[in-house]
């Protein structure tokens, strides 16, 4: 008898989730429709490929950022970290080319270096945050300045460029692909799917959400809070390295302006996607939608020229706010 009401309550819980789920997707669909209306080439294979491929850097990083934010953290350093890792990678690859010639091993070494230096950079952030106990905001603001300076210094104020022949060899990693789908898109999709699975179906993902929701409860539930939190930063670092692996063949160079404001874009994508900035709840697919929304805004502004380019930023800002309004509307009963 007393269990009878159990079935009844289920509907509102579902409806609320549905609204939050639908929000960003509606915004995305709206943008696609606007794009189609504005330019017939919008849905062309080339344009879609371009947009998706260039979203992949921020996208891969934003997946990692989702874990960090879900666990109650933040990382402002990813943009300059990416620049620094890219610079280091190019520098070392150029050195190796002198020794080994324009060969695949040089690329492998470069890739390994990017991943490892991303890992180390993430580890440094994570250790400062978890072991020394400084606010993530301050640590990563600090390392943001540090990496940005280091790349400027490595590049001597200018641009670090991969040797021309090496660039040709490495180029297909961004521009090539299989079955007409380019590698960065495949990489992004793979990272997103794995991320979604890890977030929702593994102990690690569950632990991130628990820590972000209530650190003390997590500790009392014998979760190794510091270790998990550290892992989120390391994971993000590795993903930054991975994004760089895809990025370098695109431009073949790195400079002080590489990756500028990527951190803001990545965080914005995560939040637009419905992850809570305070931690405790995160969803990877939402982040993917967020990344696509941000990319599409830029793309659509390039499709037309009905506004002064000075105002691009204003439209971008307005659309970001609108996308989230859509999502919060109706879920505003908090």
């Amino acid at each position: 008898m007393s269990m009878a009401p159990a079935q009844k309550i289920s509907t509102p819980a579902r409806r609320r989730i549905d609204l939050q789920v639908v929000g960003p997707i509606v915004a995305l669909i709206a943008l696609v429709l606007i794009g189609m209306a504005l330019n017939s080439n919008f849905l062309s294979y080339a344009n879609i490929t371009n947009v998706l491929a260039r979203s992949s850097f921020i996208g891969i990083i934003a997946v990692g950022m989702t874990f960090v934010i879900t666990a109650g953290g933040l990382d402002l350093s990813v943009g300059s970290m990416a620049a620094f890792v890219a610079g280091l990678m190019i520098l070392v690859m150029n050195l190796l080319t002198d020794r080994l010639g324009v060969t695949l091993p040089v690329i492998f070494a470069g890739v390994a270096l990017a991943l490892i230096s991303g890992l180390v950079a993430g580890l440094i952030n994570g250790l400062l945050i978890t072991r020394v106990g400084i606010e993530a905001f301050i640590v990563t603001l600090g390392t943001m300045g540090i990496y940005r300076s280091l790349i400027t210094w490595l590049a001597d104020g200018g641009t670090l460029s991969l040797g021309f022949e090496m660039r040709e060899l490495y180029r297909p990693v961004y521009y090539g692909g299989i079955a007409g789908i380019s590698w960065p898109i495949l990489a992004f999709v793979a990272v997103a799917i794995i991320g979604e699975i890890v977030m929702r179906h593994t102990a690690f993902g569950r632990h991130c959400a628990a820590i972000g929701s209530n650190e003390r409860v997590a500790r009392y539930s014998s979760i190794a809070v510091l270790r998990v939190r550290l892992a989120t930063y390391v994971l993000l670092g590795v993903l930054v390295g991975f994004a760089v692996v895809m990025y370098v063949p695109r431009l073949g160079s790195a400079s002080a302006s590489t990756g500028l404001l990527w951190e803001l874009e990545a965080i914005a994508a995560v939040i637009i996607g419905g992850t809570l900035l305070k931690g405790g709840f995160g969803r990877i697919w939402g982040t993917v939608v967020g990344v696509l929304i941000l990319s599409l805004i830029g793309n659509i502004l390039n499709l037309t020229d009905f506004v002064s380019p000075y105002l691009n930023g204003a439209i971008q800002g307005a659309v970001i706010i609108l996308a989230v309004v859509l999502q919060r509307k109706g879920a505003a009963d908090r």
């Binding site: 080439n41 695109r250 073949g252 160079s253 400079s255 500028l260």
Partner: protein, 290 residues
């Protein structure tokens, strides 16, 4: 037919002027050539610029491209591919890393920009004079300018007390100059690799009450600076040109080329000139925003 124009965003004075001229020119040419369509994009960094170029090709089907590369190296590949597909390419100001890609090249000469200022320093200043140097945002452009300047003063016995980045920004330059003024009892001249920074430096010098002590040479021919030269201001004896209006030239020549009546190609290098009291009137444009 469509012409794509891609330039850096207006993040400092000179780039702002560049934007101004580009927009005006596009507006004017759209009237002059009713058949021509223009796509104007502005970019905060190289990666975005590559994205913009991709979009122009994929969705706007441009027939010609006027581009001021944010950075040379990273843009070389993408622009080369556009050129290879048969699109007319005009490169403005920053040369590409590989020669022969562009159909038309319209540029200032950053090395000459620094050299012109440096030569003035070497001529005017006595041996043992002390100067400070305010650089721009770390970039190839900045490196070239400074290299030109350093080469020109080499051997003139001029001591560079300090050199730091004012980031082409008035506020940063003001702060930097304030601190240099506290640090150095004697400064004979300031070279600021851009007029925005010169404005900041001058304000700091004025505040410190050391106006008579040193002169400031900026660059790019900002209206305000030219005006001060015109009026014989001792603090601002000369300036070095680096006309942002070069973008207008480039767009106009490209449009003309596309329309087909006067195909123009080749290199148009606009060397920097020294603006002095004598010729300042020629460089003063009342309605320019810069």
């Amino acid at each position: 037919e469509t012409i794509g124009v891609s330039i850096p965003a207006a993040t400092h004075g000179w780039a702002g002027a560049l934007n101004f001229h580009a927009e005006r020119t596009v507006e004017r040419l759209e009237k002059v050539y009713p058949d021509l369509d223009f796509v104007l994009t502005t970019t905060p960094d190289s990666a975005t610029q590559v994205s913009d170029l991709e979009d122009m090709v994929a969705t706007r089907g441009i027939d010609a491209l006027v581009v001021l590369p944010f950075e040379s190296e990273p843009l070389t590949g993408p622009i080369q591919r556009i050129a290879d597909s048969g699109t007319w390419v005009t490169v403005v100001d920053r040369g590409l890393a590989v020669d022969g890609i562009e159909n038309l090249y319209v540029a200032g000469d950053n090395n000459s920009f620094g050299r012109t200022a440096g030569e003035y320093f070497a001529e005017t200043l006595d041996e043992g004079a002390k100067v400070v140097v305010m650089r721009g945002i770390p970039s190839t452009v900045d490196n070239e300018r400074v290299a030109g300047f350093e080469a020109a003063i080499d051997g003139a016995g001029i001591e560079v007390l300090a050199m730091d980045h004012g980031n082409w920004n008035r506020d940063t330059a003001f702060t930097l100059m304030q601190d240099w003024l506290s640090r150095f009892g004697q400064i004979d001249a300031v070279w600021a690799a851009d007029d925005d920074m010169a404005v900041g430096a001058l304000a700091a010098i004025e505040q410190a009450g050391r106006t008579g002590e040193m002169f400031v040479v900026g660059g790019a021919g900002m209206k305000e600076m030219v005006d001060r030269i015109r009026s014989g201001d001792k603090s601002v004896p000369v300036n070095v040109t680096y006309p942002p209006a070069m973008i207008s030239t480039a767009i106009e020549m490209t449009a003309a080329g596309i329309v087909g009546n006067a195909p123009m190609s080749g290199d148009f290098i606009i060397a920097s000139e020294l603006i002095t009291l004598d010729n300042a009137d020629d460089f003063y444009f009342e309605d320019s925003p810069y």
